[in-house]
């Protein structure tokens, strides 16, 4: 990818997602999108803009406010041979449809002895930082990753947004594609042609030898900023962007940890029971003799997401707190001032 970057055009994260859908819908008649305001309005975040104009209302469907029926629509249509994309406006709303997602979509194939195939993509938007308060800011991926039968991707760059969406649309399993609300406008290199970023493959976005920093979604940028600061302190962090959180590319993580001997996991979700716990558990198991310090975790505290910008700034991990967490894992003192 690095090579092509320079040549390729830049596109925003949200537009890259939209382009993946559009190009795939041109290729495959069985793909359609359905959800609240995704049709005529193009989605409240603009992620579905232009699809109804190009593909018509049957392939770009405005639905009632009915998250359970929206996911069920996708399940039934998938079992019947289509490749549905159903949108749940905010990640917080997966809780409204959790039965259809976790009891139905995730389990049908297994319960049916392998008979059903569910090429279903559930798209949603997660993450805090918009003063959207406790019901519009959550990062609930840990709940989804605990459900056998689902795959979950959380891209952190426009390039991966397009490539992973293509991969989800081509996958024959229920996948959940989680956009980060605050990344939608972020620009980056995105090839115009159709390409796929494989599900389940992490990306080492910055090489280093002092400590491994594992993250995904918007926290990758914050981790890279933290890495820059630490570089100024003579510490080279290796930053890994998981890109996919289920299945987890634990091999890449463990290999890095065995080299750096120290590792910190960073995510927006609350710390208790977050993905950092699973990663820490697997790393201490796979790299026990290599670790010079406990696996560190930088995550949100165990509280709902507050509305107040002042409180939310305290809540969401940022480069500063990530740097502090890394220093702790390295046993370094905070720099003066």
């Amino acid at each position: 990818m690095a090579a092509t970057e320079t040549e390729t055009r830049t596109l925003a994260y949200g537009a890259a997602f939209n382009e993946a859908l559009r190009q795939m819908m041109r290729e495959d008649e069985s793909i359609f999108v359905a959800g609240e305001d995704v049709g005529a309005a193009g989605g409240v975040f603009g992620a579905f803009v232009g699809l109804q104009d190009e593909f018509g209302p049957m392939r770009s469907v405005d639905t009632p406010i009915s998250e359970q029926a929206i996911v069920g629509l996708g399940i039934g249509a998938a079992v019947a041979g289509l490749r549905p994309v159903v949108d749940l406006m905010f990640m917080d709303f997966i809780l409204v449809a959790m039965d259809q997602i976790a009891n139905q979509a995730a389990k049908l194939k297994y319960m049916f002895g392998g008979k059903a195939t569910l090429p279903l993509t559930i798209t949603t938007s997660g993450g805090a930082g918009l003063s959207a308060a406790a019901q519009h800011s959550q990062s609930l991926e840990a709940m989804l990753c605990h459900v056998p039968g689902l795959k979950v991707v959380m891209p952190g760059t426009p390039y991966d947004a397009k490539g992973l969406m293509v991969a989800c649309l081509r996958d024959d399993n229920p996948t959940v594609f989680v956009k980060n609300k605050r990344l939608l406008g972020k620009k980056g290199p995105v090839p115009e042609e159709l390409y796929e970023v494989p599900i389940g493959v992490a990306n080492v976005v910055r090489p280093g030898d002092a400590v491994t920093v594992v993250s995904y979604g918007r926290m990758v940028d914050e981790s890279l900023k933290a890495a820059d600061r630490l570089a100024g302190e003579g510490v080279e962090c290796e930053v890994i962007d998981l890109r996919t959180v289920q299945p987890l590319d634990i091999d890449t993580v463990v290999a890095s940890a065995r080299r750096t001997n120290r590792i910190v996991v960073v995510h927006e979700a609350v710390r208790f029971g977050g993905l950092g716990a699973e990663i820490a558990a697997q790393v201490q198991e796979e790299a026990f003799d290599y670790l010079d310090a406990p696996v560190g975790r930088v995550a949100a505290p165990f509280t709902p997401v507050p509305f107040s910008p002042v409180l939310e700034a305290e809540y969401v991990p940022n480069a500063g707190r990530i740097a502090t967490g890394i220093r702790q894992t390295l046993g370094l003192a905070e720099p003066p001032g």
Binding site: V61, L73, I75, G76, M111, F112, G113
Partner: protein, 327 residues
């Protein structure tokens, strides 16, 4: 569709097949030869038979926790059904699903469901696919009176109406949800009263009369096929056995008298009387059907018993569809 003699005979056979399968399953359960929960359809045969006789193999149905009758009516294979109830490798779900998840996607039976109302949105999704493909197929949702109180039903019914989908909603109103009577859980007597709130036509039909169910279903299916959208059929029926298992008498939640009253309207007896009166099928003819089906059931039990358990390694298969290796 017209009610020809062939239709009458077909309805009878479907009901007899359900009845014998369920009676056998009940017996096996009493002998502790079936693992897990068992929700029997005995008493309600006319609903599944009447509806499925109005469908083609391309049409789909979604079912409930009480799903054997629906699968048998849609043409389910006794051997694979019995094997599934016994958790054998030869079962419809390789022993992974059991009674509550039995299905046959090839027959358009999209599965029983352990979650009340869980199958409703799924059938609506299949209906969407039918409209999308323009294949003229129709999907039918079977659901209980109790299920009409759950959110997933409401959302899916409205979705079908809003998107004008070829779906038929068939409410099996047997007056109880588990051990709680209908009047405790809703302030209406007829579940069909909900149809107007979705902008769907709705009818009430005698769920013990297979012919009446067939006629109502045929009309609703024809409407859906013609592109005129979803409709709602409420069948008044009754389960002859307990919510799960077979125990019947001396229950606290419903009187023996009430049960006896309904049993006088056994859907199979009613149709056999009509068949005899119409000279379509006399007692001997009916007995022959019963005998033939009974033999098939015995064979299915033997098949299931001789079938192997799933290999323990099967535990890990089919969680995901592996690219290349198809579904």
């Amino acid at each position: 569709m017209e009610v020809t003699d062939e239709v009458l005979v077909d309805l009878h056979r479907r009901m007899v097949r359900i009845r014998h399968f369920e009676e056998a399953a009940g017996r096996l359960a009493e002998e502790s030869r079936l693992p897990g929960f068992l929700h029997l359809y005995v008493g309600e045969e006319a609903v599944a038979a009447g509806v499925c006789a109005a469908l083609t193999d391309e049409d789909q149905i979604s079912s409930t926790h009480r799903g054997h009758g629906h699968l048998v009516a849609k043409g389910g294979d006794f051997n694979r059904m019995m094997a599934e109830l016994m958790a054998k490798e030869t079962g419809y779900c390789k022993g992974r699903g059991g009674s509550m998840h039995i299905c046959d996607l090839d027959l358009g039976m999209l599965g029983a469901n352990g979650i009340v109302g869980g199958g409703v949105p799924i059938a609506v999704g299949a209906g969407f696919a039918n409209k999308y493909k323009g294949n003229g197929a129709v999907s039918v949702v079977f659901f209980g009176d109790g299920a009409s109180n759950i959110g997933a039903f409401h959302e899916a019914a409205n979705m079908a109406a809003a998107l004008h989908l070829p779906v038929v909603f068939v409410c099996e109103n047997n007056e109880y949800g588990e051990y709680t009577p209908r009047d405790q859980t809703m302030a209406i007597t007829d579940v069909v009263d909900r149809a107007v709130g979705y902008g769907m036509p709705g009818v009430i039909v005698d769920g013990m009369d297979a012919v009446a169910v067939f006629e109502a279903a045929s009309e609703a299916v024809a409407r859906a096929r013609a592109g005129d959208g979803p409709s709602f059929v409420e069948a008044k029926t009754y389960r002859f056995y307990n919510h799960h298992g077979v125990q019947v008498l001396g229950m606290k939640y419903r009187s023996d008298e009430e049960l006896a009253e309904w049993r006088t309207r056994d859907p199979i007896d009613l149709l056999e009387a009509r068949l005899a009166a119409a000279g379509v099928l006399d007692a001997d003819g009916a007995a022959a059907v019963h005998a033939e089906v009974a033999a098939a059931i015995e064979a299915a039990i033997a098949f299931a018993e001789q079938s192997p358990d799933p290999d323990p390694s099967e535990l890990f298969n089919d969680v995901y569809t592996i690219a290349g290796g198809g579904a």
